[in-house]
């Protein structure tokens, strides 16, 4: 059962449970990418915990041979927080869907981010409720017809990145289920980041929202319609690597290098570590091309570090060394 050394392979993280997602579901690729990332994070298997809510995506922990908790709809951020605070040495991962995280669990989601507890959140965004068979979710495109919106939705959707940054998120990345390698790299960085890391994964639900991301992920268009940003590198993309992003006034604009006098030097350099999130917000909101990669990664104290520090401080200063000291403190009197 247990592996003595840290020389794990992806297979060591695969549990004995049969995987039950629909054939062709994007979740399979994500599972593979996560299992590949695990040997790279340098953590012992017994120190890794996967916590999920409810949804197709939330079945995920059953398929990982680590500790796992498949909980109730929307509450995984709080459960994961309890796990992390109980044992800060653990590497805690939360698996959630767009409904789980942003509808029923919206409150917990933003408060987890606000507190900055070191938990890696993988948000499987398929823009639909999969498990309950195809109702619209908080990320479903405006006007889309679904089982519960036969005339088209009239709710404005959330852009998860905007929500994360609006809640003062320190780490936000976007990945796709079609780029497993890119996802694995992001996961390793998410684990390294101290504080809450949110990774939005554009995931194809082949049954209820098929190909909703194909404008970004289809082979023939992905290079032109996706830009993968990396810290310190110019924001260049396109099939010929000739397109780039520049700032025009308060807006991002796509330009072509070599046209209208634009040179490579004009292209924005990505600074994921910048404290001010204005540009990160613009990148998260950009529709075409869609931005993938680590959009923001700003280092600051995590909640559990602050908690530890505080506990050490009170330990040093407290007159009570045991509960008996406390019970006998204050005004007492002796009856003979």
């Amino acid at each position: 059962m247990s592996v003595e050394t840290l020389e794990y392979t992806a297979k060591d993280f695969s549990s004995d449970q049969e995987v039950k997602w629909c054939p062709g579901c994007g979740d399979y690729a994500i599972l593979k990418a996560v299992q590949k990332a695990m040997p790279l994070i340098g953590r012992k298997r017994e120190d890794i915990v996967f916590v999920s809510g409810i949804g197709c995506s939330s079945r995920f922990p059953y398929y990982m041979d680590t500790f796992g908790f498949h909980s109730i709809h929307g509450r995984a951020p709080a459960i994961a927080t309890g796990v992390k605070l109980a044992n800060t040495n653990l590497s805690v991962w939360q698996i959630t869907g767009d409904g789980d995280a942003l509808a029923i669990g919206g409150n917990h989601f933003i408060h987890l981010i606000r507190r900055n507890v070191s938990i890696n959140v993988l948000l499987f965004n398929n823009r639909i409720y999969g498990l309950t068979k195809g109702q619209f979710s908080p990320t479903t495109n405006l006007g889309q017809t679904t089982k519960s919106s036969p005339q088209g939705t009239i709710d404005n959707p959330f852009n998860p990145g905007e929500l994360v940054l609006g809640a003062n998120g320190h780490f936000f990345a976007r990945a796709t289920d079609t780029n497993a390698k890119g996802l694995t790299e992001i996961l390793v960085e998410a684990e390294k980041h101290q504080g809450t890391s949110i990774v939005e994964i554009l995931q194809n639900c082949v049954i209820f929202n098929k190909d909703i991301f194909s404008d970004y992920t289809a082979k023939d268009v992905k290079l032109d319609n996706q830009i993968h940003v990396e810290h310190g590198k110019p924001m260049i993309f396109g099939a010929e690597s000739t397109k780039g992003l520049v700032l025009n006034g308060f807006k991002l604009e796509v330009v072509t290098i070599g046209e209208n006098g634009v040179t490579e030097g004009d292209i924005l350099i990505h600074d994921a570590h910048e404290e001010d999130n204005t540009l990160h917000m613009m990148l998260a909101k950009l529709q075409m091309p869609v931005v993938t990669g680590i959009i923001r990664s700003y280092g600051d104290d995590s909640f559990e570090i602050r908690m530890k520090r505080q506990v050490e401080e009170v330990e040093k200063n407290s007159p009570f060394k045991s509960v008996n000291d406390l019970l006998q403190s204050g005004e007492t009197w002796e009856i003979k």
Partner: protein, 614 residues
């Protein structure tokens, strides 16, 4: 009325009442502390407005503190005050109906002007109209006397007026021959850095004391001798404080870290605040974004190996329902404290009631058994919090501990326990010797599964809210398995009856009537039962600390009496549960839902009526 001469009495109930800003809670706790040090037995009950800033001078804004001191054992804060201190007309209006004719009322006449009594809702001047004719009234212009006494100290008017509660306290200290040292010490601690304020308060305290001496402000009852208490070291504890300490002691004894996930709600917030002071004991206190996050963070901590608790009141318990079911399904140790208040909905946040019993027992989807226990007095909160934690850790189950606003805010002297004298707590953990541990393998006696948690190599496993296969804990939809697991979850809780104390009876051990009660009403009922015993009535009291499962000898006890009367502060919740669990008995019920505790007189009346009925 004439003043009566000093006489020693065995107990006296004093109520300090004034505007929320008048410092009545402080005045009451000072009187309590001083009396405790003199060796009196004590019970207290604060009574404050739900609105933090209710309009000044109105009945809605009245804050009160009732203290019962005695030489004999005391079980309640008392039905009716022997002495009422009314700092303004509204305080008189709010409390007058509770004061029996012939008792003493001390009045700050400075706050009984026309506008004051009109605001309080009197139609005529109460000092003139004759409503006080049959009371022993002591009129003292406390505000102006305080002003005169504090002249020249360089204090502003506001600070001077604020000190009038010390003047009132000084008067009451004189009436009951209490020393001033305890309060002087307290004031020095509190205002050590503000010498003028300190001097003002002490001066007001002494001025009140001397004024009472000058006017010979005797009450109908005066000195109270020390009670005949068991030898030992004592301190005064409030229920919520005792609850918090019980958990700290359980954590230390079990070798676990304590994790509290909680969201503030009256009257449970004090537990959160008390534990937040004690992080040095490894107590992880997490103020969550709502009650659901409070319990789910605790469930996460339990999964990861902590002694996990969550504290709330009725509305919060409603929000925690789904998650509590998750703890039932995952069979994790968890204690949920519900400090009950009047309901439904927001109800009466600052008033007491016992109306969450059904919610605790049944308020979840599915067949969802949890252990339900209740504390019977402020000091008992310590023991029941400790026991609740012990049951959760040893039997791998969620436990709901019910207290209420009355015991939570009430206080009483507590003979300090030493942690070495507390029962051991042995968490039901998987141990290294177990071959091939499986998540839902069980102890054959208790049916508790063996706890293993992250960080332990070789125990990697997945659990969750979906039905579990017996032994392996894998997801299972098999019909027979679901039925078996449903049975096992209930049976595991029922078997706890083998590990809890048997039901004890106060008063007559057999006879005409058994009064049955649970939770915070114990003090009132015991007082009433003791009275019955003095009148040679064959009445016993069976008070339940453990409700689910019921103590093993419950039916045996019920069999010894001709009639059973179940008394509760609700419309009959324990009685309905008993009718289901032990249908062979006939139950009568006595219920009250006024947001107030039982009065001894009304209990005695109900008991006598039941005895007389054919």
């Amino acid at each position: 009325m004439e003043t009566t001469a000093i006489k020693e009495v065995d107990k006296v109930v004093i109520k300090f009442a004034g505007d929320s800003g008048d410092g009545m809670q402080l005045t009451g706790t000072q009187f309590t502390g001083t009396s405790a040090l003199l060796g009196n037995d004590i019970a207290t009950f604060p009574d404050y407005p739900a609105e933090i800033r209710a309009p000044q001078g109105t009945v809605a804004g009245v804050s009160g503190f009732q203290v019962h001191i005695g030489q004999a054992h005391i079980h309640t804060p008392g039905d009716n005050p022997d002495v009422l201190v009314a700092m303004n007309a509204a305080a008189l209006k709010a409390n007058l109906r509770d004061v029996a004719k012939g008792k003493t009322i001390i009045i700050d006449t400075d706050n009984f002007k026309r506008k004051d009594w009109e605001k309080a809702g009197f139609e005529e001047d109460p000092l003139e109209s004759g409503v006080l004719r049959e009371y022993h009234v002591i009129e003292a212009p406390m505000t102006s006397l305080t002003k005169t006494a504090l002249e020249g100290l360089g204090l502003d008017n506001k600070s001077i007026v604020r000190s009038k509660n010390m003047f009132a306290l000084g008067m009451v200290y004189w009436m009951f021959s209490r020393p001033l040292e305890y309060t002087e010490r307290f004031l020095k601690g509190k205002f050590g850095k503000k010498p003028e304020i300190l001097a003002g308060n002490i001066k007001a305290l002494k001025a009140g004391f001397n004024y009472a001496d000058t006017i010979e402000a005797f009450s109908s009852a005066s000195a109270v001798l020390p009670a005949d208490m068991e030898p030992g070291l004592y301190k005064n504890v409030m229920g919520n404080e005792a609850t918090a300490w019980g958990f700290l002691a359980a954590a230390e004894k079990s070798g676990k870290d304590l994790f509290l996930g909680s969201y503030p709600i009256t009257p449970a917030t004090d537990i959160l605040q008390e534990l937040a002071k004690h992080r040095h004991f490894g107590a992880k206190v997490f103020q969550a974004e709502d009650e659901i996050a409070g319990i789910t963070s605790a469930i996460g901590a339990a999964f990861a190996g902590d002694l996990a608790i969550t504290t709330t009141s009725g509305p919060g318990l409603a929000l925690k329902g789904e998650a509590l079911g998750l703890a039932v399904m995952t069979e994790l140790p968890l204690v949920v404290v519900d400090v009950q208040r009047g309901g439904p909905s927001t109800g009466l946040p600052t008033k007491t009631e016992q109306s969450d019993l059904m919610q605790a027992l049944y308020g979840r989807n599915g067949e969802s058994p949890v252990v339900v226990v209740a504390a019977k007095s402020p000091a008992d909160c310590f023991s029941m919090a400790y026991r609740a934690a012990k049951i959760a850790l040893e039997h791998m189950t969620p436990v709901v501990l019910l207290t209420d606003g009355y015991v939570a805010n009430g206080s009483q002297p507590w003979k300090i326990l030493k942690t070495e004298d507390l029962e051991e707590i042995k968490p039901h953990e998987a141990d290294k010797s177990m071959q091939n541990w499986q998540p839902y393998e069980r102890d054959t006696a208790t049916l508790a599964r063996y706890w293993a948690y992250p960080g332990q190599a070789g125990y990697e496993h997945r659990i969750g809210g979906l039905e579990k296969e017996d032994v392996t804990g894998n997801v299972s939809y098999t019909p027979e398995n679901h039925e078996k697991m449903t049975y096992v979850r209930e049976e595991k809780v029922q078997r706890i009856a083998n590990y809890i104390p048997e039901l004890e009876v106060d008063g007559a051990q057999e006879g005409d009537l058994l009064v049955v009660s649970w939770g915070g009403t114990y003090g009132s009922l015991l007082t009433s039962i003791n009275q019955c015993a003095r009148d040679n009535k064959k009445v016993g009291l069976a008070h339940f600390n453990y409700i689910k499962p019921l103590p093993k000898n419950t039916a045996e006890v019920f069999n010894k009496f001709k009639k059973i009367l179940v008394a509760e502060l609700n419309q009959g919740q324990l009685v309905r549960y008993l009718r289901g669990e032990l249908p062979q008995f006939t139950y009568q019920q006595f219920n009250k839902t006024q947001g107030l505790p039982f009065r001894v007189v009304e209990l005695t009346h109900a008991i006598n009526k039941t005895l007389e009925e054919k």
